[in-house]
Symmetry: C2
Subunit: 249 residues, 2 copies
C-alpha cells in the first residue's frame, strides 16, 4: 500500500504508539483510580484505560477518545505524564495472550504516552464499552497488579500529582464546589501520602487565602454540620501575580 493512501485513511491505528490514562477520583476518604477489566474468559489483570492511537490524530485527542471509548468519561482535561518505552513493556505472557486477540500486530513494539486527570468522582459513573468488560473506581491503595507497565505509569502519576499539588491548586478539581476544611485536609493527606496535623493544615490553607468561607453549613450529616468553603479563584490569581510559586505542603 502506498504511503499516500495510508496517510489519508482516517481510521488507521498506529501499531507502535498508544495512550494510557490515569484518572484520579476522591471519595472524601481516599484516592481512587479508574481501571478497566478486560476479562476474556482467561484471567488477565485490570488495566488503565488505553489503546493505540490513530495515525491522523494528535496524542492529546487520542487520549480523550480512548478514555471515552472504554469508560464513557467525556471531555476530560488530560495532562501528559510522559512516554513509557521499555522494549519489554507488553511482553508478559498474560498481556501477550490478550493482545493476540485484540491487536492486528500483537508483537509490534509499542511505546505508550501516559496522561492523568483529576475528576469529581460523583460526576463520573464509568460505563464500559469497546474491549472493556467493566470500568470501575478502585481505591488507589488496593491496586497491587495491573496489566503491562501500568503499575509503573500509576507510580509516575502519583509522583506528578504530589509535585503539582504544591505548584497549582489542582486538588480542588477532586472536590465538589462546596467542601469542608476537613474534606480538604483528608484530600491533601491522601495526595501527599502522609498524615498532616489538622490544625496546622487549616491555619496554612486560610493563610494562603485560597478558600473562602460560605454562610452555609453541611446538610444531612449525622454529626455536627461543618462550615462549607469554596476555592477562591480571584485570590489565587492575585497570589500568582506576586510571583508566588509554591504552596509549601
Amino acid at each position: 500500500m502506498k504511503q499516500e493512501i495510508k496517510k489519508n485513511t482516517p481510521l488507521e491505528l498506529n501499531p507502535n504508539v498508544s495512550v494510557d490514562c490515569v484518572i484520579f477520583g476522591f471519595d472524601f476518604d481516599k484516592l481512587n483510580v479508574l481501571v478497566i477489566d478486560r476479562a476474556d474468559g482467561t484471567s488477565v489483570p485490570c488495566a488503565l484505560p488505553g489503546n493505540l492511537i490513530y495515525n491522523n490524530e494528535h496524542l492529546d485527542q487520542a487520549a480523550i477518545r480512548v478514555l471515552e471509548e472504554l469508560t464513557g468519561l467525556k471531555n476530560i482535561y488530560l495532562e501528559q505524564i510522559g512516554a513509557f518505552g521499555d522494549p519489554n513493556r507488553i511482553s508478559k505472557a498474560s498481556d501477550q495472550s490478550w493482545l493476540q486477540k485484540v491487536r492486528a500486530q500483537p508483537e509490534a513494539r509499542v511505546i505508550t504516552v501516559a496522561y492523568f486527570s483529576l475528576v469529581k468522582m460523583e460526576d463520573y459513573v464509568p460505563q464500559a464499552s469497546s474491549f472493556a468488560k467493566s470500568a470501575a473506581w478502585i481505591p488507589l491503595n488496593n491496586i497491587h497488579e495491573l496489566a503491562f507497565d501500568h503499575m509503573e505509569i500509576l507510580a509516575a502519576a502519583k509522583r506528578q500529582l504530589k509535585q503539582m499539588i504544591n505548584i497549582r491548586p489542582i486538588g480542588f478539581n477532586l472536590l465538589p464546589e462546596k467542601f469542608t476544611l476537613g474534606q480538604l485536609h483528608k484530600l491533601y493527606e491522601a495526595i501527599l501520602d502522609k498524615p498532616m496535623d489538622k490544625r496546622n493544615f487549616r491555619r496554612k490553607i486560610q493563610k494562603l487565602n485560597l478558600v473562602k468561607s460560605l454562610e452555609e453549613k453541611q446538610l444531612g450529616v449525622p454529626h455536627k454540620p461543618s462550615q462549607l468553603f469554596m476555592f477562591d479563584e480571584n485570590n489565587y490569581q492575585k497570589l500568582m501575580q506576586t510571583g508566588f510559586n509554591n504552596f509549601g505542603f
Copy 2:
C-alpha cells in the same frame, strides 16, 4: 517478514518513534543549546539532535545513543520532557524534502520523545557525525527557527528548566566545580529569564546554605578576583531531609 524475525533483528529502526535532545550549556553569560546542521546542499534549518529509535532499545538508551551518534557527547544523563505528537509535526516542505533523503519511510507518522540535560559547556566540544554536518552551541536567545516542531520542544524544555531550578539544585550542573556568586547569579537570571537583584540573590543563596565559600579566589581575571564557591551537597541533603521542597526563586 515474520514478527519473530523482526523482533530479533538488533538494528531495526522503528518508523513511528523518535527521540530528540535539548542540551543546555552556560558560558558564564547566557544559556546555549546544542544544535546540528543537516545541510545537504539545500537550505534546511538546524535541528535538535534526534533520530528514530531501534525496536529493541529503551527510549532513554535511544536518546543517549542518538546524542552521541550525532554530536559526540557521551554518557550524558538525560531527563525526559515528554512526548510530542502533532500529526503534522514533520510535514513542513523543507522537513519532508530532507526526510525523503534519509528515511526509509519518510511519510510515516512519527511521534517524538524529548529529553533534556544540563552540561558544563567547556567539557563538551561537539563533534558531528552521522547525518549531522556540524554540531555547535548556539545562544538560546538567537534560536528563532528549527526543523520540525523543535521550537515547541525547546520551549517546553525551557519551561521545565525554569520549574526544576526551584525544586532541585540542577543549576550547578551548568557550572564548573568552583564558581563565583556573580556567575551563579547570571545563571539564575538566564534560566529564570528575568533580572534579579544581585544583593538579594547573594543573601538568599547564602541563607539556603547551598554553597560553601572556599579559601580561594579567581585566577587570571582582568578585574579584582572574586571569591570562589562550591555547591554543598551535604547541606543540600540535610535541607531535603527537613521536607524542604522549594528554593523560592
